[in-house]
Amino acid sequence: MQMRKVCKRFGNIKALDDIDLEIHPGRIIGLLGANGAGKSTLLRHIIGLYLEDEGECVTFGCEAGKLGPKELVRIGYVHQEGELLEWMTVRQLIRYVSTYYPNWNRELEEKYVADYEISMKARVGSLSPGQRQRLAILLAIGFEPELLILDEPAAALDPVARARFLDLLLQIIQAENRTIIISSHILSDVEKVIDHAVIMKEGRILLDCSFDELRERFSRVRISALGGELPTELPFENVVHCQRSDGKAILTVQDCPREKLQEQAKSLNCWVEIETLPLEEIYKIVVS
């Protein structure tokens, strides 16, 4: 999937601003950003529900706006709106949707239905938000898509279901050439599965790199004086944030290799601990 110089406007709002993005198979990509950052807009461009004003968006070698059944049978999409056919029973809806996909996996369907306790006899309209979301996920993964796009997929799931869902994603990605793009605000969940992060703000991509690289870029250094006070000037570079109190300091450092940090720490007569930042903290630093 490639996006080149993609721009999209909704009236006066620039929803996507000069987006360049390339997504290769075999990855789980976390698409992160505040509300209105342009995540859903970007995802909808990938599957051709939105058309770009400028630039080019290509999915599976085809212009996204011209995607046909050949390409779309390879894409699964769980959307924010949660639109389903309310008047069908769950069984009927699954049968209806599966008719469109030649490679629908009945075994996977049965396993998922059993694991997630989905009632096949229930009417779709009477499902709770969590059950609806589980059903929407099943409909998106049942045909084992090569590209799975998840737009806020876990928002209505309880913690246990969310954990199962993350396991499921890891199972899905085991198959060759599968790609998952997940957009979510629950960063603590996302960071358990993604191997690539794309952070957006106001329609622009602020950061696009592998998750390992991202985690290495940001570190937290906890310093405690072994006796007396900490030196006024701490010998660390690229400090993003510093909090000091009573002989202790917590520093957030950007773009400074761990080895260098350890070397700098040795010069201090203090107890120093270097740790990796959680995704939530990294995200806050990047967007601010």
Binding site: L51, Q92, V97
Partner: protein, 472 residues
Amino acid sequence: MSILTVNLKHLYQRRGLWLVYVFLGLFAFAGVVAPLEHPGAGKRHYIGLVALAFAIGLLVAVLPIEVLTKPFSYCLPGHRKVVRRFIFWVGVIANLLGSLLFLGYPGLNSGQLVLVVCSAFCAGLIFYWLGVGLAFGVRNSVAWIGLWPFVILGGGFFGLHIVIERAIVGNPFGVILVGVLSSVLAWLWLGDARLARRYCGVPGIGFFDAWNRDKVQKYRQVRAAKKWDKLKKHPSPWVETFFLGRMNRYDHVSTGRYIWGGLYTTFGIALSQLSQWKAAFLSVFSALVLVCFLGYMGPGRNILFIMPGLMFAQMRLPVYSSMLISGGRKERYRCAITLVITEAVLITVLATIVAALSLPLAAIMPDITLRDITFAFHAMNIELFFVPLLMIPIVFTIQLIYYRKPVVMMVLIMLLFMVLFFGTSILWREQLSAVINPMYIVSPVVLSWVLFTVVLRYICMRRCLVGQGRTN
């Protein structure tokens, strides 16, 4: 800013309401002009504004209910009474102004006039509380406002307004007593904490939400989730087997699969209902009743061919669906056009059959005399069969363009309805229908389909299909 002031803002902030005010204003104008033109006592022209109080009550009560249904609104401690104050004072002021009309009531001395004005004020309050009661008592009562013109016309036909005017003028003390009692009861009832609790944070359909599919869908979901929905409608097994079988006949990349899928999701539930003998019998029976009723409506019977188009305004084409199946934009386009053609043909055939039923009935149906007016049965103008074919593509064109602006959509469709209703009523009198050239009919029908196809293709191929992009 006080909460009461904020509440009052609802009365002008919602632009859709302005249209309602225009209608209310026109009715109020007629209510004022009628007694000025016919000032005689007992001529039943003074009652318009009193009756209008019912609609005002309904409207004024529905607005705070909409606010109540949102979390953290008047459900907070100390805020509950705002609703009562708001409704009460609007009622008092509106009816005070309305009752002043009775100052011109002829044949009364000044003392009697004051008494009659008080009586009219209380009568207005009674009507007003009825409207308020309906709003609070019946869930999603907004739909009832559509019946109001019929109640007015029906009441007028059966002389209800004479009875009310006589009661106001002839028995002022009784009316005042009932008015005061009803106001006290309404005051106590509106202050009841249980009433607020019933609505606080519970999703409902607001004044203009009936045309907002997203809200209606959300509301239905919530209701269904709470197991209130007892209907349990879903496709019958034979319907499912039939449509899925048809879909499976086509290749996975073939448009045929998507067209049959679209037909299934559009007609599946209706076919399932009709396949039950009760529903089928009810449909035939309703058709017969409809024919009998419309036959006595004079030129208004042409509504038979216009109403279906109006009903289809609520039907959803699979263009703006965010439920992704493997069909692309081209499949959406072809599926939508097939659906609309199928619907138009079906409706045309059904309306024509119903119209044909009226032909033999015309010979046997008797004339009916009601309050000195004789109603004769007329067969439907079967030559109007083309109207659904003309109307349905226009309705869907409006729906496609104004998908996210339901009020504009509704107004335009109502306008179309009126143009066609009055147009056919005027043109299809015998003298004129004879001179109408078939080309005059074929041309607009063809044009409407061309317009629909062009708009549909443009939207399917060049516009955003979900979310905010639908309007851009």
